[in-house]
């Protein structure tokens, strides 16, 4: 028992709280009462049981537990968007290998990603695709790599003017997508290269995206925008903005 004297919160006899603790709790409560997430430093000074009692008391106030209409509206939009981007993937899952390439090109024109075959495509016609990050009329081609460097399994970051993106080689098919999280705009980082599936993750809130740019986890509301690629004479070009930042 005696060695526990230094641990304050669960003692039967309340110890004299320090000035720091007193002020920290007050800020913590102000945050709760103003619907803000309390500051991590203030929270760290409190034991979890105390924080939970505070949370329960906070929720006791009549009407406090009602979600705002604005929040419900925006959540509903994100959910419906996420479900729509889920649908093409499910459709794709049933397609046989033979028709897969054609399938991916079709998807590329919609919610998917700019995908081209590494070999045999000299010059991919760049249609104006509403979901592409940069539209052909507005952009400029940037030489981002040699096709030979991008062996299967490679994922590499590039900049093309004002665009930061990733180029991936998944089983011989090259694709590129935006490298900026659709949640709060942080830059993305590749998942651990040892991971069985290629993908990106956000360092800010840990949203995750798969090799198609689809959200697989987290708060990101939208898939990553595809970036148009073009392979010519062994060089890979990405369509970026005319100007740089």
């Amino acid at each position: 028992m005696s060695e526990e004297i230094r641990s304050t919160p669960n003692q039967n006899e309340p110890t004299q709280p320090s000035v720091d603790e007193v002020a920290g709790l007050d800020r913590y409560l102000d945050a709760l009462l103003q619907d803000r997430q309390p500051d991590a430093d203030d929270a760290a000074k409190l034991d979890v049981a105390t924080q939970q009692v505070a949370a329960q008391l906070r929720a006791t106030r009549e009407g406090a537990e009602e979600p705002s209409k604005q929040f419900l509206g925006s959540l509903e939009r994100s959910v419906s968007q996420a479900i729509r981007s889920e649908k093409p993937k499910q459709r794709k899952a049933g397609v046989s290998r033979g028709t897969f390439l054609r399938g991916t090109l079709a998807v590329a024109s919609g919610a998917g990603i700019g995908i081209i075959a590494t070999e045999g495509v000299k010059d991919l016609q760049v249609a104006s695709r509403p979901t592409q990050l940069v539209r052909s009329g507005n952009g400029r081609w940037y030489d981002i790599a040699s096709a030979a460097e991008l062996s299967p399994g490679t994922i590499r970051r590039f900049t093309a003017g004002g665009v930061v993106g990733y180029v991936l080689n998944v089983e011989g098919r090259l694709s590129a997508m935006s490298g900026v999280c659709t949640h709060m705009g942080c830059l993305l980082k590749p998942l651990n290269p040892a991971a069985s599936e290629a993908g990106l993750r956000c360092l800010c809130h840990d949203s995750r995206f798969d090799a198609q740019g689809q959200v697989t986890q987290g708060l990101a509301p939208k898939p990553l925008a595809p970036i148009t690629l073009h392979v010519e004479n062994g060089r890979v070009y990405a369509l970026g903005t005319r100007e740089s930042v």
């Binding site: 997430q37 034991d47 049981a49 505070a54 329960q56 537990e65 708060l219």
Partner: protein
């Protein structure tokens, strides 16, 4: 290909139609449930979004209304547990959800009301002055300074009282559901 492209453009309604009712019925319930456990709007909104966005893959398939709801609740519960684990990371106490006074029920539809009742009981059990401070602070939404004025105390007094009160309440909450450290000990031993 052209057909498929057109389909992509008209994607506005159908996929979501089936989910529509599940969403509007459940979003408010799940939000309230989470709010009653985390106590602030920002966190409750974050966690509610997480639950629903995690659910989209699952919800895109046809499910019965009941299974949707229980899936959402259990996902909400694990988000809440994760949140509190994260809050506790700065402390040295490893958390085991069974020791949290906040999780004593799994009948979720009743849980919001029950957690409110518990909070009221916790208040009742406090010494009058501490109880009054917490009432003004939480139920009226007074700042420490405003509460001090009402009670004829200094703001400093109020700040100390509210800390004492919450700690006392946390302790009494813990003893109702057994002391945290003891119950954890039992769990660990029992698990081996």
């Amino acid at each position: 290909m052209a057909g498929q492209r057109r389909e992509e453009h008209q994607q506005s309604e159908p996929a979501y139609e089936t989910l529509g009712s599940a969403f509007s019925e459940n979003a408010t319930l799940i939000y309230r449930f989470i709010f009653s456990k985390v106590g602030n709007r920002e966190t409750a909104e974050d966690l509610t979004s997480q639950v629903f966005l995690k659910a989209t893959r699952w919800l895109a398939l046809d499910r019965s209304a009941d299974s949707v709801r229980s899936w959402l609740y259990s996902s909400a519960r694990s988000s809440i547990v994760d949140y509190w684990k994260e809050q506790s990371r700065a402390r040295f106490v490893p958390l085991d959800e069974s020791q949290l006074p906040i999780f004593c029920g799994t009948d979720d539809s009743e849980e919001v009301r029950r957690s409110r009742t518990r909070a009221t009981q916790v208040l009742e059990a406090l010494p009058p002055r501490e109880r009054e401070v917490l009432r003004l602070r939480f139920l009226r939404g007074y700042s420490a300074a405003e509460a001090a004025q009402t009670l004829g105390l200094t703001p400093g007094n109020v700040r100390v009282l509210q800390l004492r009160a919450l700690r006392r309440a946390a302790q009494s909450g813990a003893t109702v559901h057994e002391d945290g450290r003891e119950s954890r000990q039992v769990e660990e031993d029992g698990g081996k």
